[in-house]
Symmetry: C2
Subunit: 877 residues, 2 copies
């Protein structure tokens, strides 16, 4: 018997026709999704009259069917035959013809560029018969056999999975035998012999003869390119570059042109502007008598593109005209590949050039000045995420790295210092002027002062949104988290990496942008924000409709954020204030009080201190809106866990160590993230929230604050919670002559809050999505534990992206949609924002824009990114 129901067939998107293959003159650049970037651009170039060897492209849908359903869609074979015939007619050549054989390249190309990740085959169509025709026709046997052996090598590797080294060894042997250094020094006969040897190896390794039929060659090659979509490096590349939801690769089959037909032939790659500085100069390199792979291989040194003018002025002039044409046509800096075949120029590829953030900014501003782009078009060309490069110090590019361990790139930038294993030591050493790197198994709020004092943070556990990562990003401090390679032995003050032992005081360098850890102090470079950068930010501000706020808990962070253009605070966490040296003891006494009465004394003292904290923030944020979240974390986070500290506290509380330990362990929780925290604290200990509200009001009144204070109740899952606490907050407020505008609202971070948002909105003046917790609860993941299985999930393709990095639109995003819809059904003008870490992620910003949120809030150092992303979202809509 078999399974009583079977897996549903994966559904296909709406495609307007059953056309599976497009000739170059049947499509244009708008069809990237279907034809890949390469295919669509070849069509576009054909359309605008740029010289391109003719060909056609098999769609990504065919790839999808082939990989998912393990079969070709209906009609594919017939369409392929038709296109081949068309190509043969256009070129006047014929596949496998003994007089005028058609040779083609078979190239991969997805909708998003993944350079070098998938496979390509050149010179396809050659066999023992056609090679002779090629030799005869070109009068160049050496060229013909060189082309043939290149094809056999490439085909054996890509299609037949024969180890590349096996053939290369034979090539080396032959060169040794002939006592020559360069491939070009081998003769037609040498190549002939080698081809025979290659084919023998292929037969031995694969069990089959090397296919002689060009049509068979072609079919296998197409399949191999399709399959290369799922090779390891392609999967890894997509993961690293957050490329998801693509259907597969297109395959382009194109008549070959040859840059290696002699000294009047050549090949090269070039950018229409300098991709690393943005300067307006033709930038690239070329080789005469070479095929494309030779330029990359590095055996012969390519020449600067401008040298071409001297070698072949007419080809150069034509190239200049073409590149100018392409840049104007695409309105974007282009990265092109060309071949000159016996003096005649062909373009093989054009695409928008990858560039550094620096170059992107400069290019954008200059193209607007040149009249090539509007400001809006220019804004859309900058990768918002790349701005991160500009906002933190980084390790000099020229410096060599010896990586000893690798973790998650949790907070960008780089830092060097002596490693220390506890916050106290970090603070002490920093006070003595030492640079330190704080190393912890994982950080907790107790480590805040140590993190402040340190240059960077390294943790063995935790993901991209672990405590260490979130706090470090907030501080703009470099952090490598979840570095599972290391073993932290804090009591022995040792760090173990395999057999290697690193002691306290040893110097390491962290690269928070790559997750790498290096021994010693590497040379750094400081970031500087250019005038162009400011110009771009101004343009962004003109366009965007989303407000950009920041997550900041102290006056310094507020100032940094204002400097970066933040318009308010979307999340001011009050718990960080509780950890400062001068008050942690009060906080602990407050927590461990046996009843409200005993609690009142430390609370009174804390009131005075918190009032001072808020005054500082209000002064900096004058005139702005700021959301202040009342106490959120479970109380045990504030209690000491180390012996010395426990004893100190017991002494100051005048109780025995055992009694204190008992009290502390009574507060322990099995799943603290789902425990006694957030508004649950407010309901069981209303006196704490009352104190905080008093501190807020008294501080705002004291400095005559004239912005908007938004009092935020965390972790609400039921309308009744907010109703209850709103009353408590309002009762406190009634005791004062409040002189500023205020709102009372809630963080939306529990799935149930989204589902019942219509009820909750009755008692809320605003919502703010806490997408960190919302994501965790929606997935049932704990960000502190995700490290145990996330790597497997990514490796095995179960997850394409870490959902903590960018809003999971299908799951978490749907909950947010419900919430916005239900909340605004109750209150059409309900203010809704987002303050989770993802508030600084460009894709998430775009999603928030689409949802109709009022603002996004992110860490100070991501404010410029959010500003640009918000502008792009507005422009794209």
């Amino acid at each position: 018997m078999i399974s009583s129901s079977s897996v549903a067939k994966a559904s296909r998107p709406d495609i307007s026709s059953d056309k599976l293959i497009y000739a170059f003159d049947e499509a244009d650049k708008s069809m990237k999704d279907l034809l890949g970037g390469k295919g669509a651009n070849l069509c576009e170039m054909t359309k605008i009259g740029v010289p391109v060897p003719y060909g056609f492209t098999i769609t990504t849908e065919v790839c999808h069917d082939f990989l998912e359903l393990e079969d070709y869609p209906e009609g594919f074979a017939a369409q392929l035959e038709e296109k081949l015939t068309q190509l043969e007619t256009r070129t006047g050549k014929k596949l496998g013809d003994s007089e005028s054989p058609l040779l083609v390249s078979v190239r991969s190309g997805a909708a998003v560029s993944m350079p070098g990740m998938m496979d390509t085959i050149l010179n396809l169509g050659l066999n023992d018969k056609t090679v002779e025709a090629l030799a005869t026709k070109t009068g160049n046997a050496r060229f013909a056999y060189d082309s043939y052996r290149r094809f056999v090598q490439m085909y054996s590797d890509v299609v037949l999975a024969v180890k590349r080294e096996l053939l290369e060894e034979e090539l080396e042997k032959m060169k040794e035998e002939k006592k020559v250094k360069l491939d070009t020094d081998l003769s037609a006969d040498d190549w002939k012999k080698l081809i025979v040897i290659f084919k023998e190896i292929v037969k031995k390794e694969s069990g089959h003869d090397f296919p002689e039929s060009p049509l068979q060659q072609l079919k296998f090659a197409v399949e191999a390119v399709f399959k290369s979509w799922n090779n390891e490096r392609a999967i890894a590349y997509r993961r690293m570059n957050k490329i998801a939801d693509l259907r597969g690769t297109a395959v382009t089959i194109q008549a070959m042109v040859f840059g290696n037909m002699g000294e009047d032939s050549g090949t090269g790659v070039a950018f229409t502007r300098n991709p690393s500085t943005g300067e307006k100069e033709f930038y690239g390199e070329f080789l005469m008598n070479a095929q494309g792979e030779d330029v990359v291989a590095g055996i012969r040194t390519p020449m600067d593109i401008c040298e071409l003018e001297k070698i072949n002025k007419s080809a150069f002039d034509e190239l200049i005209a073409v590149k100018d044409n392409l840049e104007k046509h695409y309105k974007n800096m282009q990265d092109i590949e060309f071949t000159i075949e016996q003096g005649k120029l062909f373009l093989l590829q054009t695409r928008n050039g990858k560039r550094t953030a620096h170059a992107a900014i400069r290019t954008a501003v200059e193209m607007v000045n040149e009249g090539l782009l509007t400001k809006e078009e220019a804004l859309l060309q900058i990768d918002a995420n790349s701005l991160n490069q500009l906002l933190h110090p980084y390790i000099k590019k020229s410096v060599e790295r010896q990586v000893i361990a690798k973790g998650l790139p949790a907070s960008p930038g780089a830092a060097s210092g002596k490693i220390v294993f506890c916050s106290e030591t970090a603070v002490d050493m920093a006070e003595q002027g030492e640079k330190v790197i704080l190393v912890r198994k994982e950080t907790s709020p107790e480590d805040i002062s140590g993190m402040h004092a340190a240059q960077g943070v390294l943790t063995a556990r935790g993901g991209m949104t672990s405590h260490a990562a979130v706090v470090a990003r907030g501080m703009g401090k470099c952090c490598v988290a979840g570095c599972t390679d290391i073993m932290v032995n804090a009591s022995a003050k040792k760090l173990l990496i395999g057999e290697m032992v690193i002691n306290e005081g040893d110097i390491v360098t962290l690269d928070g942008s790559t997750g790498e850890v290096m021994m010693g102090e590497l040379e750094m470079q400081d970031p500087e924000l250019s005038e162009d950068f400011k110009t771009v930010m101004e343009w962004a501000d003109e366009v965007r409709t989303l407000q950009i706020r920041t997550n900041a808990d102290n006056p310094h962070d507020c100032e940094v954020a204002l400097g970066f253009g933040a318009e308010g605070i979307g999340l001011c966490r009050t718990e960080h204030m509780f950890f400062e040296e001068d008050r942690i003891d009060l906080v602990r006494k407050m927590i461990l009080a046996k009843n409200s009465e005993e609690r009142s004394k430390p609370l009174e003292k804390l009131l005075a201190i918190q009032r001072g904290d808020f005054e500082g923030i209000f002064k900096v944020m004058e005139g702005k809106a700021l959301t202040i979240r009342l106490l959120d974390p479970p109380l045990h986070e504030f209690l000491p866990h180390e012996n010395a500290q426990i004893e100190k506290l017991a002494l100051s509380m005048d109780i025995s160590r055992d009694e204190l330990c008992g009290m502390i362990s009574k507060l322990d929780e099995v799943n603290p993230m789902l425990g006694h925290r957030g508004c649950r604290l407010g309901i069981t200990f209303p006196e704490i929230y009352e104190m905080q509200v008093k501190a807020i009001i008294e501080a705002a009144n004291a400095v005559a604050f004239d912005g908007i204070v938004e009092i935020e109740i965390p972790l609400v899952g039921m309308a009744s919670e907010l109703k209850y606490l709103r009353k408590i907050v309002e009762k406190v407020i009634e005791e004062y002559d409040v002189k500023f505008e205020y709102k009372i609202g809630t963080m939306i971070e529990v799935p149930r809050a989204c589902i019942t948002a219509d009820e909750i909105a009755k008692y809320a003046d605003f919502f703010s999505f806490g997408t960190n917790d919302l994501t965790q609860m929606c997935f049932g993941f704990s960000r502190d534990d995700i490290g145990k299985f996330l790597p497997d999930y990514l490796d095995k393709g179960v997850l394409e992206l870490d959902p903590m990095g960018s809003i999971d639109q299908k799951g978490v995003g749907r909950l947010m949609e419900f919430c916005v819809e239900l909340g605004r059904k109750t209150k059409p003008d309900l203010e809704i924002g987002i303050c989770g870490e993802q508030g600084g992620d460009p894709e998430s910003v775009e999603f928030c824009h689409k949802l109709g949120l009022d603002y996004v809030s992110c860490s100070p150092y991501r404010v410029p990114i959010a500003r640009l992303a918000a502008a792009q979202a507005a422009l794209r809509k």
Copy 2:
């Protein structure tokens, strides 16, 4: 400045008219929601001609407005005046009239009966003037002044909040002075004097004169009754009885009749059948010359209702006729209150009588036999939850209890035994024939064997769905959980309750139905299932459409469940099998293996053992469907945490204690419930799931099982997880010649799974809701930690019910709705069930029926409850 937006006004339900008060001849029993049970039934009795003193009822909506908006709805005063005038006209009396004064009772009454929880005032309308009129009119001054003083006492207590004792002391003083024992021995003059003293005390205590104006008395009384809706005992009662979503109490104002007008008057309460046995006999008691409160007060001993025949044959005959009429009319056993005023019978109340489960079953069967009810009607009259009483042993009712601590009634039944603090001791002592009670701070899977061996389980931490509670209910074993009164000192083998110390070996008795803990061994009674019970179950099976399955992990539990009528297994947890003595070491070695290879050896041995486990289950479940869940809990749950065990394991693994500790601590998690568990284990360690699937197939083949095996992947949140694991499971299956029907599906317990159910359904043959985890993640509660704030939530009215007990329909239920809708959009015939603890809760069963699920699955001991509840759901739809 003030808040920029304000709380939305709570919306009112659709009411067809602005009518706020209904006279008894303007409504009927269908209007319970608006008039309360009492009011609606008084209307109904009026309608069918039962003698009822005239009156009217103020709706629950008025109460709601009064309490929520702190004001009466528009038009209330006018309507009250109108109804009063009508009442005066009907009775020919007038409020405050000096000749023929109208006296009324003011009674509470909600839509659901809450006996004695809210307030009532009798004899209202009496003052210094009207009391004289009453004395004159009845010619009985003693009666008139007795009535007056009763009114003053009641009114002072209920409306004026004067301490009851203050007035009662004066009454006692007076009786001592007069040297009499009974109230009835006091004279009119004595009462007169007392009334003066009472009023002085009232003035002193409340600062106001006792109100003389009957209209004022009435208005204050109505307000007081409304407010009594929110007194502590009413809130507690609603919570204990899971009464939620009511609008408030109605208030009935009714002309007084007097049972204390002399020896020809009287009052009583009665049931139309015996409420404790169900026997068909008129059952109740009465007192002559008394008001209702005297019957209850217990000073005079009431007489059996049948004695009335001898005292007043005509009143008795009329009463018999009325009660027969009422039972026939209501088609339900009635609980009535009556008064005989100078020989004339009046009914003051009728309602469906509360009864024991035993009586409910017998009454239902007998009423069907009598032709009074159809089977369907009879089924609807039985409280499904009450069946719980019949399925477990219980403490004899007559036994006196000295409660030393109270926790949550986590698993019903009762048990006595010597307390022990660890599983090993429990097992050892049980083997020696001792009865033991296992006491733990909280239980973990390691305690399973101890729980099996023990008579009952007592824990200091954890809620109604903590590990201890869930497992105990599954075993049908008595459990008191979350008993915060106790301090467990396991190492000292001591239990502390305040100052009291209980040592290992001391005997206690647990009542798992009340949560009470008593010292010593209390006498028990065994349950027995009557023929009537079986009849009712058969009727239920004829009607219900939901299939009833059970959660069972071993052959014994399966047998118990089949005995109770289970039709299959909805959840077979494989992890419980991992803890048995003979394999836990293998499990641990498997977990601690450094790689797949090292893991293969213990896995092979486990395969043989698991195959044996499954064979046992398949044999018992022959021909049935059963869902087997692959490994779910985080691996660290299986590892030892006590020193002795760690050392033993280290020895057997031939590694050092420290190394083992390091390995164990590496597996620790911050939030284990959101950690590396469920399908995440399957993805990182596919070999474990492979072994389990092999064991299942080999076992089913070995016993030639011919039911349906449902292989369940837990904790899926993404379609890609199920897709990946389905392939792994299918690959194992392909290796066998499978001879039985199987399905591959998933548990739905992560919010994201509900939201993306359309995607997940592509790879699932069935869904099974795991509402324990789904509720926790939807709310962001951990059931192990909820004990810290749940009591406050319930006390403060933030939560009306523990959401772990019954499906939270607004939140969790909405997610389930999405899931069913989306899942069946992809696969219209997708099998969907529920296996969370709530599968045995009648309200949840009804909800599941409405959702269109195929089955509910619950612990064996709740199967009969689920069968009845499913039948009721089908009938109600």
